[in-house]
Symmetry: C2
Subunit: 465 residues, 2 copies
Amino acid sequence: MCSVQSTCRCPRHTVIFLRFRRNIQYHTHIMETLIQPRILKGFRDFLPEAEIARTALIEKLTETFRAFGFVPIDTPVLEYADILLRKSSGETEKQVFRFTDNGGRDVALRFDLTVPFARFAAMHKDELYVPFKRYHIAKVWRGEKPQAGRYREFMQCDFDSVGSDSAASDFDILLLMKTALANIGADAVTIRVNHRGVFNRFLSRIGAREHSEEILRTVDKLAKIGADEVKAQLAAITQSEQKASDILTYIAGGARFSDTLALMQELAGGPAEDTQRLAELYAMMRETGIEQTFVLDPSITRGLDYYTGIVYETFLNDLPSIGSVCSGGRYDNLAGLYMKEKLSGVGSSIGLDRLIAALEELGSLKTKKSYLDAEILCLDASLAVHYQKTAAQLRALGISCEVFPDAKKTGQQYAYAEKKGIPYAVLIQKPDAEADRMSVKSLETRAQTDDLTAAEAAALIRGGA
Amino acid sequence: MCSVQSTCRCPRHTVIFLRFRRNIQYHTHIMETLIQPRILKGFRDFLPEAEIARTALIEKLTETFRAFGFVPIDTPVLEYADILLRKSSGETEKQVFRFTDNGGRDVALRFDLTVPFARFAAMHKDELYVPFKRYHIAKVWRGEKPQAGRYREFMQCDFDSVGSDSAASDFDILLLMKTALANIGADAVTIRVNHRGVFNRFLSRIGAREHSEEILRTVDKLAKIGADEVKAQLAAITQSEQKASDILTYIAGGARFSDTLALMQELAGGPAEDTQRLAELYAMMRETGIEQTFVLDPSITRGLDYYTGIVYETFLNDLPSIGSVCSGGRYDNLAGLYMKEKLSGVGSSIGLDRLIAALEELGSLKTKKSYLDAEILCLDASLAVHYQKTAAQLRALGISCEVFPDAKKTGQQYAYAEKKGIPYAVLIQKPDAEADRMSVKSLETRAQTDDLTAAEAAALIRGGA
């Protein structure tokens, strides 16, 4: 067995673990010193009900990604620090969990799923086909100041399609965003779309392209500081009242998608690939009957210079105040940090924790306390073996069930079943056992049906479930 | 939009990310310095095929745990170091990823799922009901020397039932082990069970209890160094040839479960709770028809003093050499480090990475390259919008499909579909589009059926899938 001892990785095996256990024995039974159980600020435990809700959401999203041809990948939680961030970026330092490992390596916990994907794409470029469509739902870490809805350990859900710069790829992501959100109960959403290319053409035309970054940042403040203040700032940046008002006219857009597109095209100096792309996407939205979900919004800029094509943000119609729950855009150089080849793509990311908080607030977060259909009560300790046999029979008939392990008061067993949200109790006394019969009681209606075979019990439970 | 910018957590949003992106732009487009993409020793990327296989396994296991009444929980990957390990344990230090975070806290990555579960149970004891049955499938980290089948980042799968010291709870775990492994294709397994209590009674009776630890460690070496050497070492430890041979007789056991149990009971000085427990478990195994899977093996000791009741290890009949793939036992004080209340329980842990390696070696690891039923080829760029409409129709009919985004050579599109393991291609030329018809081609048989409605195409694809 020694080979097992030394190689098995299960926690009950390894030397490290057993040594640790010995310490517990020692400290608790001899010194009686207790450690206060606690977790780090900004980190969370998930109790069953919360974890079941989160899992259900993730399973629905996964199912949708798969149906659209996206495949899963996984990357290490820990990477070389120089892969995740340049030494130069002082801002980053403060937020990233970075340290020197026992081997003297400079390592860090990933702070998003995009940088690891870029590294992954460069490292495995010869093994991958294009278009490569991947989804990745996993934890990331940032040492930010914890606050409401902000955590240091949180989950991200990314999906990207790289290797094709086509309207089809853009639409693939846009439709997937709408479908995935609808499948998890967020069906009333508005996806605000824009195209960086058109805006850049427009800025060049009015001779303000060299200020694009400042302008983008100023325009971003529209909702916060209002049009007048933005206009004043734009005038200061561009040294021109005219340019400032032109920019605001552009940003304002029109009534419907087509109006806005016409206005953008005109102000940008006529049709081009970028406006063609928007027109094609709109045609696809209409063909598939989802155009109501989308708004062409020239004020959506998505910050700095990373994006080169369409950009988008998603707002819940019933709770827009929480901000975008799903955003992204098209980029033309995913892995430029790691390889010479340019890899263009389009992707989106769902802020899962924020979305869960929102769905909870809207009362549309589904959860349950367990996955069980029935609890087999322990009414007679001498029937312990028979109860196990019954559980096996019911499971074979497709019923999720468990045996209550101890002959506690029936009231306690019912209370337990309710804490676990189990709809049915199976009752078996000695005479039932001898006749191979059972009673089934609905814990909701309290209605009880006696003298059932396993098949009849299963049918009754399935019928009610 | 500024509020969005500053609060949204998606990787395409935050300042940290955008600053970082700016660096990429800067470094790649101006300095042209590339970082060699690489990952840390002992860490792994999972490409789609490997990740799909691992996910399928995890989904099957999860399904089984749920059907047995186990519920999921989650805990942080990062915890206070003093929670995960005592400063005193020097051995542990070397293996754990431990560091001081930016807030000056002494933190570490979890090295198993049992210690966090103990902390969790103590911290939430008032919110939990007993018996509390939880499963937790997640990554853990150990800075051990990487070697074949050994990684620094690997996945563990734990399931425990705490709060009841009953044969029913023990059996719950044993049956779940067998069922879960069978459900992932490991149906030919032998689960070797023993009871620490009987062995301790036996040692007390022959007056060797004070050497139990040494004896356990020596007995553990039986398979490795052979009976004679073990006997010699036992004689040295117990200062008695007689005791040494008694121990070997005990360890040898009998032919069948009942014979071995009778022998153990006799050598331990008669029946007691521990032998009763084994007898009851055996009765449950027979009643549910799974006794063939279990062997009562007095040589299974599971190392040091943590376990207090039954212990077990699981071996693949076709590949026993890789060691135990699922092991555990009963303990009487899970959270003794964090609270005064004693919490007894029984649990098991699957070494997922080892199991996957084994199933691969046995050729029983199922995987695929994507989850798609069909690829809609792009045969005519002018039909891009129509292809999207067709995809929507087919998805509404339950077909997982995607549109190839670019009008590349048909050969390239077929090659892509094969790389993704997609069984069917949907072909639509202009005349088909105008008649709202399509052709479906099996990429396996190359058989093509023309002039189909969406419903007919879906039926054909479903029929073949």
